[in-house]
């Protein structure tokens, strides 16, 4: 193999797209390492504190596309204090200084500042794609800088970010010379946009394939925009409110009939259900439909809509569809692969509209289903066993019973057997979230059967340290473990400390782990950062090792304790 010139090796490596394959290739020998290093353009950093920007640049000097993830997953649910960390600025700064030819940046749960966006926009001439998911810390001024300066921008995708809307004219900051947009998603912005600027932008970008509008874009503007972009494949409507008895609505109907390419729809951030029939002609081609942000559509109206969606592969919907509606999905959407059912009234009186019956119906009707997120009122072991038998192909299975410790309502038993059936049947399961009344037994099953499991989320479950130990010992491919409000303590934490170097991170909050236990772990494992997050207590750290730790987040790292930790985060 050493007799191949580097160019040939590089050409061969070009066919390797997965990070894991490329990582494996780097380990073969020094020359392969070198060639791979200089030809790696896409880098994925699952924890921004596992490595430093400088070392990343030294390792992969030709990086063009970087993915960074910051805060732990539970930050999505307010369990992580606001200024915990995850700042992207140092990364942008380091890459700018080193003249990295950055073209794509994808960030998840990171803190992004306007200064960072401005630096980004100025520093990377060929910058093409910015994807921000669940980020915060910037305003529309930062977006304006990106729009104004990134001359070859193809993609600006903002998903569920907290953006302060300065009511500026950021959309107008795209220069007339910008014609390269392929994807524009600003659905999460709350403020007004300049509709004229938007329409002109759409008109001059003939390659625009994906457009997701925010709530401030009214239906008549949607109609005009669709006329300008009949080539769209992915559409997120803004406000979908109108009087159906109007010329505007009739125009919309005929415009939709011309949009033959739309395969994915989302948005409907506010809806007049009477206007839904306009999209029926598109429904027959849809492979992806997200109505999970659409308030106030009754189950019956959803059912009417679903009848038209025979090709659906991905469906995100609210639980107002009901068990009955899920039955319709089961009989109509035979190609369904991914289903997410969100609670329309998460904190409401226990009238959540879906139960295990809907899920069972789906499992009978949709054999290709492999990814599920399901918020429901209740679940029975029998239902889960049936689902496991019908759908052995699950790779992601997340079940959230709104009453977190609810037992099987029929047998009053814990749900151990039901989830056990899932892990036993679904041999490719990579992600699992549990809820309901659960004992150590379910973890025994998970340790025994969930061989491919990479991410596990546990809440209000288990009886003793044994539970957590079953998982740590059994799940060889475990990368992320997040636990809240469960009785796992020091014995579980400390029995196999080496395990944590094989994982990305471990989160434990409101468990039984003590400060002393964490200290022991930190001392044994220098390449693990053990962070204690203590927002409320005035206690001075370190005085009582027997004290229970409210929130602990540990992760493997090559660069030691981070220097940007706020005062309430203590790295042991």
């Amino acid at each position: 193999m050493n007799y191949f010139p580097d160019e040939v090796l590089e050409h061969v490596f070009d066919f390797l797209t997965s990070h894991r394959d490329r990582n494996a290739v780097s380990l073969v020998c020094k020359s392969w390492f070198k060639v791979e290093k200089w030809s790696r353009h896409r880098v994925f950093v699952g924890n921004c504190y596992a490595i430093s920007p400088e070392r990343l640049i030294a390792r992969f000097p030709r990086v063009r596309a970087l993915t960074l993830k910051g805060k732990p997953h539970f930050a999505d649910f307010n369990l992580v204090p606001h200024d915990w960390g995850g700042f992207v600025y140092p990364w942008i700064e380091a890459m700018a200084k080193s003249n990295i030819g950055l073209e794509e940046l994808r960030l998840k749960r990171m803190v992004v500042s306007n200064e960072g966006l401005e630096l980004l926009a100025r520093s990377f001439v060929n910058f093409k794609s910015l994807v921000l998911i669940s980020c915060e810390g910037f305003t529309t001024d930062g977006l304006a800088a990106v729009a104004a300066n990134c001359r070859f921008l193809r993609e600006l995708d903002l998903q569920e970010n907290e953006v302060e809307d300065r009511k500026g004219q950021w959309l107008s900051c795209f220069p007339d010379s910008c014609t390269s947009l392929v994807s524009l998603n600003f659905a999460c912005l709350k403020g007004e946009v300049n509709l004229t600027a938007l329409e002109r932008l759409v008109a001059r970008c003939p390659n625009l394939k994906s457009l997701r509008l925010n709530r401030a874009v009214p239906l008549d503007a949607l109609q005009r925009i669709l006329m300008l972009a009949p080539q769209l494949e992915d559409l997120g409507t803004g406000s979908y409110v109108h009087d159906p008895d109007t010329e505007t609505y009739n125009k919309l109907i005929s415009t939709f009939q011309k949009c033959r390419s739309i395969r994915s729809m989302s948005g409907f951030l506010e809806v007049s259900p009477l206007c839904l029939p306009a999209i029926y002609p598109i429904c027959s081609n849809l492979t992806s439909l997200n109505l999970s942000y659409a308030p106030g559509i009754h189950g019956d109206e959803l059912i009417k809509l679903i009848h038209h969606c025979r090709k659906l592969q991905r469906l995100w919907i609210l639980d107002c569809i009901g068990d009955k509606g899920l039955g319709v999905v089961a009989s109509t959407c035979k190609e369904l692969q991914e289903l997410r059912v969100f609670p329309s009234d998460p904190f409401g009186v226990g009238n959540a509209a879906v139960t295990e019956k809907g899920l069972v119906a789906i499992s009978f009707g949709c054999p290709k289903l492999h990814s599920l997120l399901y918020f429901c009122q209740q679940v029975t072991n029998a239902a889960l066993i049936t689902v496991a038998k019908n759908c052995p192909n699950f790779t992601r299975f997340r079940l959230c019973i709104l009453d977190a410790t609810k037992a099987d309502p029929v047998t009053m038993q814990p749900l151990d057997e039901g989830f056990g059936a899932i892990v036993q049947s679904c041999k490719d399961l990579r992600r699992l979230s549990l809820s309901g009344l659960l004992t150590d037994r379910v973890f025994l099953y998970i340790g025994m059967y969930a061989e491919q499991l990479e991410m596990l989320s546990i809440a209000f479950a288990g009886d003793s340290d044994k539970g957590m130990l079953y998982v740590l010992n059994g799940c060889k491919k475990l990368r992320k473990l997040e636990i809240r409000d469960s009785p796992f303590g020091n014995e579980a934490l400390l029995t196999d400390v080496g395990k944590y170097e094989t994982m990305r991170s471990l989160w434990m909050s409101s468990c039984e782990v003590t400060l002393g236990g964490c200290k022991v772990l930190a001392e044994k494992m220098p390449r693990i950062n053990v962070e204690i997050i203590n927002e409320y207590d005035q206690m001075e750290f370190g005085f009582d090792d027997r004290q229970k730790v409210d929130k602990m987040f540990l992760y493997r790292t090559l660069v030691g304790p981070r220097k940007d930790a706020p005062h309430f985060v203590w790295t042991l």
Partner: protein, 210 residues
Amino acid sequence: MSPQLAKPSPESSSAGLHFNDTELTLGLPGATKSGTKRGFSDTVDLNLRGPCNTDHASNPSENDVSGDSKPPPAKTQIVGWPPVKASRKNVAKISKYVKVAVDGAPYLRKVDLEMYGSYQQLLGSLEDMFSCFPIRNYLNERKLMDPVKGSDYMPTYEDRDGDWMLVGDVPWKMFVESCKRLRLMKSTEAIGLAPRASQKCTSTSGSKSL
């Protein structure tokens, strides 16, 4: 050394309080209850209705808008449960019910302003609701209806400042945001206030109630 979880009692009431049925308790072996570990029910934040007194108390599920007679939620809330992102928490059907009073009617009605997309829809619905009280329609919208001859009532509303305003001046959404209640005012009371359909409102010597 790890605390054992005391099993919940096997009896369970069939309906009602799920919390008591499934309450998890912790204690050292032999202890019956108490224990430092919080079970699900112990973790609830009991200050649901009041203003959030800790930064991370869970959000109240209703806002103040449709003020009266909301049944208190059966569950109190726990931080971070159910695990939905903040952006999804308010997706529940938004409704804004306001009282509608018609001068001379024996009782009031309520309408959900979020059900409508325009003034036209609202007034049409009000006409249906109070079918014996024709409502003068002066609005200059695309779908203009001729002002009903001899109609008796002007639609007015009370805004957040407590002022009585004429319906129709501001964009629809702004109106929904600021409207607290509606009153269909007898036209005889409204002399000098009502602008004509296609005329600009000229200042008159009569004072407006705006």
